[in-house]
Amino acid sequence: MSLRGNDLLSLREMSAEDMELVLSTARSLKEILSRPIKKVPTLRGKVVCTLFYEPSTRTKTSFELAARYMSADAVSFSSATSAVRKGESLADTARNLSMMGIDLAIMRHSVSGSCHFLSKVLDIPVVNAGDGMNEHPTQGLLDIFTMLDYKSKIRGLKVAIVGDILHSRVARSNIFGLTKMGAEVSIAGPLTLLPPDIERLGVKAFARPEEAMEGADVVYVLRLQLERQARSLFPSKREYRDFFGIDRHKLSYAKDDAIIMHPGPMNRGVEITTDVADSPRSVILDQVTSGVAVRMAILYLILGGRD
């Protein structure tokens, strides 16, 4: 299956070959970001629309810059200042936008599965920029791209994902992507924040981060999603920090050359200490640059060529 003209909704549904194609294309496109003139004419005349029903700084900006660097026009729609406030439904909003000649829709929404729903409503390709607790496939791809920057191959790589697995679409996309490409993924978090059947996805689950991080090449720290905690799933931020916050001591369980990743935005002093976040082993800011290159590749692969 090719990406051209198709949706990108999840890494669960994406083949390893398509993921490799995105990664190798992004590898070529990354060079454009270091040019004095950051623009190639490839997607001239194409229009992409970002629909964000949830706050975002990184992902939205990253998609819009990726589109502009490829010479596509990017328009954005944010729920806070639109007719959504007047009660317009998602399907109606999207249909209206597509009637204005948009070639691709990029959506973030708090409801899991909303991008799949949108893809059924619209004839144009839909890219998932995060749907509820389901997936954030472009984040998964940019994380794998960043790991490849430092670790050269994914097969056999030991990746420890620590934190709020239950609410994390980032964790799910990483788990689907990494296991498909042959990494060994272990996860750790408070028992209340670990989905009960998570090991069926091909990962090893641990109650303590030290166990998951034993011999890890990559330590992936998740954001504690305070806004998604409807009920108390852990006693306090301080207790979370003591047991699951990644500090220098816990990090000593990972390999000496392990890299540290985080999808942002960070709660410094909660899930990660400032000295770890800012240490030379932290590649958190590289993830941001990778994100633009990976999204340029995705836009090129979906929109380039004839329908």
Partner: protein, 183 residues
């Protein structure tokens, strides 16, 4: 449709002799090699640019910088093609501003690749001049472009295909004319 080889235009020695001549013409035209850089157009222009640099290293005792240019993102037929071309890497380990850039490619045909390469180069800076070296010019230009250095002019029909095979990719050095035949 299948491609069959009709005639060999150049063999290993033929390609080498042509490159030696082009290398000397580059020196002659530029009155030396000051600020001259070679930029190979992916894929087969790249090994040709490296071979020219090797020849110049031996004959002129000069190290000429070599870059690699991928023009996929600048093609004018991206939205017309069914198959999606793979995006290769552009690697120019030098600033092209004020350089004399010699673009190197295997075959000059419609000129559209070179048109794309000119755009790609100019997006990277403003060279002093841009010249073009090709192993084979087969005619049928669709844009007003000509080469400064031509290995061999080969009149062709549009049905014919010029296949440049280089040992770096194909295990053999050879230029052949092929033609599509109905099976």
């Amino acid at each position: 449709m299948q491609l069959i080889d009709k005639a060999e235009i150049m063999d290993n020695d033929g390609i080498r002799r042509v490159l030696v001549r082009i290398a000397h013409e580059i020196v002659e035209k530029n009155k030396g090699l000051d600020n001259v850089v070679l930029v190979g157009i992916r894929r087969r222009g790249v090994p040709l640019a490296r071979r020219l640099a090797d020849i110049l290293r031996n004959s002129e005792k000069a190290d000429v910088l070599v870059g690699e240019l991928d023009i996929t993102l600048y093609r004018d037929d991206l939205t017309l093609r069914f198959e999606q071309p793979h995006v290769g890497r552009t690697v120019l380990p030098f600033d092209i501003a004020k350089r004399k850039v010699v673009l190197v490619d295997d075959v000059l045909f419609t000129g559209r690749t070179i048109r794309a390469a000119l755009d790609a180069i100019i997006d990277l800076g403003r060279p002093e001049c841009i010249q073009l070296a090709v192993l084979v010019d087969r005619g049928h230009r669709e844009v007003p472009i000509r080469a400064d250095y031509v290995g061999k002019n080969v009149p062709t029909s549009r049905k014919e295909v010029i296949n440049v095979r280089l040992s770096e990719y194909d295990g053999i050095d050879q230029v052949v004319i092929s033609e599509e035949v109905e099976q």
